[in-house]
């Protein structure tokens, strides 16, 4: 095999392996969703979903995240065309949107805990904080990943290693977006219905 063929199979394996990893993460979330579905009515003496969810606020979070998925797509297009500056630009925008999302989520969590609706109030709130928080943790890891990728790109530019990792990042980011759509539907929309 020549060097190029070796590089192609390596990319091929890495991307496939990453998809398998995404599937395992999907099952992790499925477990948390299942637990939430079982425990969501066990509010004990605490509030139920419709007492605490602020829908306009959650919708804003959702729009931020959906937009970040779009800018992440623009970043991949730029990377495939080999335009480093554009990649850095869209990576930056994605970072800013993601950071805004996480900040909003943390603010919301702080409010809930401040109002006495912490995770130790009821099984419903335990599963709520865990499910939504696990998603937020994933987003935070994604943000860290963006910072690292930014540093790599500034040092090494676009090469086969960095573009492969950008592709993997975008799979990860879109996946988190899909998970959020489910959270928005199952936790928030069905919670206030």
């Amino acid at each position: 095999m020549n060097a190029e063929a070796v590089a192609t199979t390596r990319n091929d394996k890495a991307i496939f392996g990453f998809w398998v990893y995404i599937m395992t993460d999907c099952i992790l979330f499925a477990t948390l969703f299942a637990t939430y579905a079982v425990l969501r009515n066990n509010v004990a003496h605490g509030p139920a979903g419709h007492d605490i969810f602020n829908m306009p606020y959650v919708l804003t979070e959702t729009l931020l995240l959906l937009t970040s998925s779009f800018t992440c797509g623009l970043m991949i297009l730029a990377s495939r065309m080999g335009k480093l500056k554009q990649v850095l630009l869209w990576l930056g925008v994605t970072f800013a949107l993601g950071l805004a999302f996480v900040t909003m989520e943390i603010t919301e969590f702080t409010h809930l805990v401040g109002d006495g609706h912490g995770w130790d109030t009821s099984a419903f709130l335990s599963s709520f904080f865990t499910l939504v928080g696990t998603h937020g943790l994933h987003i935070s890891v994604g943000l860290l990943w963006i910072l690292v990728m930014g540093a790599f790109l500034l040092r090494k530019g676009l090469n086969q290693h960095t573009t492969r990792r950008l592709e993997m990042f975008s799979i990860f980011w879109h996946f988190l977006d899909v998970v959020w759509v489910f959270i928005f539907t199952i936790v928030f929309l069905m919670g206030v219905a």
Partner: protein, 647 residues
């Protein structure tokens, strides 16, 4: 600074202290010996930092072997406690509970999983004609995470305590309210760390099998062992995330006062039991499928015949893989889910016996009119057929909910799953160990001592577990250290104790066999046989032990039993070599696992700064690895030619 950790954490029980002392002495002896022989650089360069799956596989097996000895020690203590039947001798009730919980945890997570991943590391790349796994560094990291979990569980013996809530730590008993100590936390973080290792290993080998098979090896031409691993790996990637999430939730209950599985404020303990078995039942098949694969290869080799019913074997594997996700509720028919639900899971459980039966008959038909050679691996196989059928019949019996209500949580159940795990997984592992030992060393194990070991294990196994079946049917509940003498059960517990002693004798024979075979080989070195058993699969086509790059020339396959076909047609592999890329050594996998260990230890003792240090260390070591683009070296064609001519 030290969280919950203080001098009180040192255990007081003489049995535990004896165990700790033995372990520390053994560790010091090993370190002393390595230092005395000045073997540290050799160990570092050839083993600890190696990314070669053949080396990693051996390290998995060494860890599993050591843990097997510890698990057997625990078994001996449990058996002697029940055989003596004097409360507090040799164990207090609390120590007894810790020991049976530790026994199960060790045996499943560190012995059985270690054996399975060891076998996959050693055999999967060779059998599919590949030179490596898909992600060599990730593979090393998986192993070291497994090792870090092993270290954490052993640390619990000397610092603090182990949990006393059974090997799956059912809540509400395992919640903070009833288990305030560090035991359950040790258990959670041990499994979390080792579990992430298993999950990453599962992804790695799945990609290896899908993407790295030799030219011409279509799926239906793979050796059956590889098929069985593919089934097992699919289960790993589907099931282990459930374990990770479930343990995380239990941990959140204990650390942050959440209410997932508590008995108050809306928590639901049965949710945990459902989730843990949604992982736990597939786990049983994760362990047994590779053992089935080993038997499929061994039986075909020692009867000099192609495996009977290859296609049906493949479908049986996938039938089992699918069905194993549809039976978890049979672990707790007594939950009270209602007749319809219980009937569904009961029927599914019975159905899973069908593909398993297909496999047993296929092996027997392979032997039919074959030239059977009764070597040690075949003995293990025949022993397996007897024990596994016995255990399987007991399993089908328990799949009937009405009967299960009678034997639930009795020693009958304990006997059943030990029959499956010892008679299935462990016998399979020993068959594979004897069969492939010459592949990785160049010489065979002593047959006579191997057969002695086999008979001790078989007789000891029956002696240890047939009494438990009888006791269970008479109503003996599991996990008790004391049964009233008026029940008249004492002699059965004594027989079971003698059975375990016989198994220990078998282990003694195995240690002797290994030592004696190495000594014989050193005394009368024989040239290595590359194909001692007249094998059928690709791994026997290259030198024993294999070179670092496995195949000097990438093999091309056009039939099942590829090596057998090559021998029949007399076709020799070409001698035109090209350079081969192999991964450079790296200690970073070990360092990442060390960071994970610090996280685990820190959280267990509430030393939060230590946990943060651990997380930062993990991230930094990962970044160091990612920044390094120079991770391969080339073995040139000339070097390969030189190595291949020496043989």
């Amino acid at each position: 600074m030290f969280g919950r950790l203080s001098l009180d954490a040192i255990p007081k029980s003489p049995v535990t202290l004896g165990g700790v002392a033995t372990m520390i002495l053994a560790l010091l002896a090993i370190i002393g010996l390595i230092t005395y022989l000045k073997k540290w650089p050799w160990l570092w360069k050839n083993w600890l930092t190696s990314l070669d799956p053949k080396k990693i596989g051996v390290m998995y097996l060494i860890v599993a072997g050591i843990m097997l000895l510890r698990g057997l020690g625990d078994a001996l203590l449990i058996r002697s406690e029940q055989a003596l039947n004097v409360q507090g001798v040799p164990l207090s009730s609390d120590t007894f509970q810790q020991i049976f919980s530790a026994h199960g945890t060790m045996m499943i997570f560190f012995v059985a999983m270690g054996v399975i991943f060891g076998a996959m590391n050693l055999l999967v790349p060779l059998m599919i004609g590949a030179r490596d796994v898909a992600f060599p560094f990730l593979n090393a990291a998986s192993f070291w995470l497994f090792a870090a979990g092993m270290v954490l569980v052993n640390v619990s013996l000397g610092i603090g305590e182990f949990q006393a809530a059974g090997w799956l730590a059912y809540p509400p008993l395992s919640e903070l309210q009833f288990s305030p100590g560090v035991g359950v936390d040790y258990w959670i973080w041990t499994l979390q760390i080792a579990g992430v290792g298993s999950l990453l290993g599962g992804i790695n080998f799945l990609v290896t099998i899908i993407k790295m098979r030799a030219a011409g090896m279509t799926l239906m031409k793979m050796p059956l062992f590889v098929w069985s691993c593919l089934g097992s790996l699919s289960l790993i990637v589907f099931a282990f995330p459930i374990l990770t999430a479930t343990l995380a939730m239990l941990s959140l209950d204990r650390l942050l006062g959440m209410h997932f599985f508590t008995s108050d404020l809306g928590g639901n303990p049965m949710m945990y039991i459902n989730l843990i078995w949604a992982w736990g039942h597939p786990e049983v098949y994760i362990l047994i499928l590779p053992a089935f694969g080993i038997f499929s290869v061994v039986v075909a080799s020692f009867t000099s015949k192609a495996l009977f019913g290859y296609t049906s074997m493949v479908w049986a594997i996938w039938g089992i893989t699918l069905l194993s996700f549809l039976v978890w509720l049979h672990h707790f028919f007594t939950m009270g889910a209602g007749a319809d639900v219980n009937a569904f899971f009961g029927i599914m459980t019975m159905v899973i016996a069908v593909p398993t039966g297909v496999k047993v008959f296929n092996w027997l038909f392979t032997m039919f009119r074959g030239r059977v050679r009764f070597t040690t691996p075949m003995m293990w196989f025949l022993g397996f057929v007897v024990t596994f059928t016995l255990g399987g019949a007991a399993g089908v019996l328990m799949s009937i909910p009405a009967i299960d209500f009678q034997v639930h949580n009795s020693l009958f159940l304990v006997a059943h799953f030990h029959t499956m795990i010892i008679g299935g997984v462990i016998f399979g592992a020993f068959a594979g160990y004897t069969y492939w030992f010459p592949k990785f060393t160049g010489f065979r194990l002593n047959e006579f001592l191997g057969k002695c070991a086999f008979w001790c294990w078989l007789v000891g196994f029956l002696g240890a577990f047939v009494p438990l079946y009888i006791l269970g049917l008479m109503g003996a509940t599991r996990r008790l250290d004391h049964y009233d003498p008026s029940l008249g059960w004492q002699w059965l517990f004594i027989v079971a104790g003698l059975g375990v002693m016989t198994i220990l004798l078998g282990v003694g024979f195995q240690i002797l066999q290994l030592g004696y075979s190495i000594w014989q080989h050193k005394k009368h070195p024989q040239p290595a046989e590359s194909d001692p058993w007249d094998g059928r699969t690709l791994e026997w086509s290259i030198s024993s032990p294999p070179k670092e790059y496995n195949y000097a020339v990438a093999p091309v396959v056009d039939t099942r039993d590829a090596f057998w076909a090559m021998k029949q047609s007399g076709l020799k592999p070409s001698k035109t070599y090209v350079g081969i890329e192999v991964p450079k050594n790296s200690p970073l996998g070990m360092f990442i696992a060390a960071g994970a260990f610090l996280v685990g230890f820190g959280v267990v003792w509430h030393m939060w700064w230590l946990a943060i240090v651990g997380i930062v260390a993990v991230i930094i070591f990962m970044l160091v690895r990612f920044m390094d683009d120079d991770t391969e070296r080339i073995i040139t064609a000339a070097e390969i030619e030189k190595m291949e001519t020496v043989r």
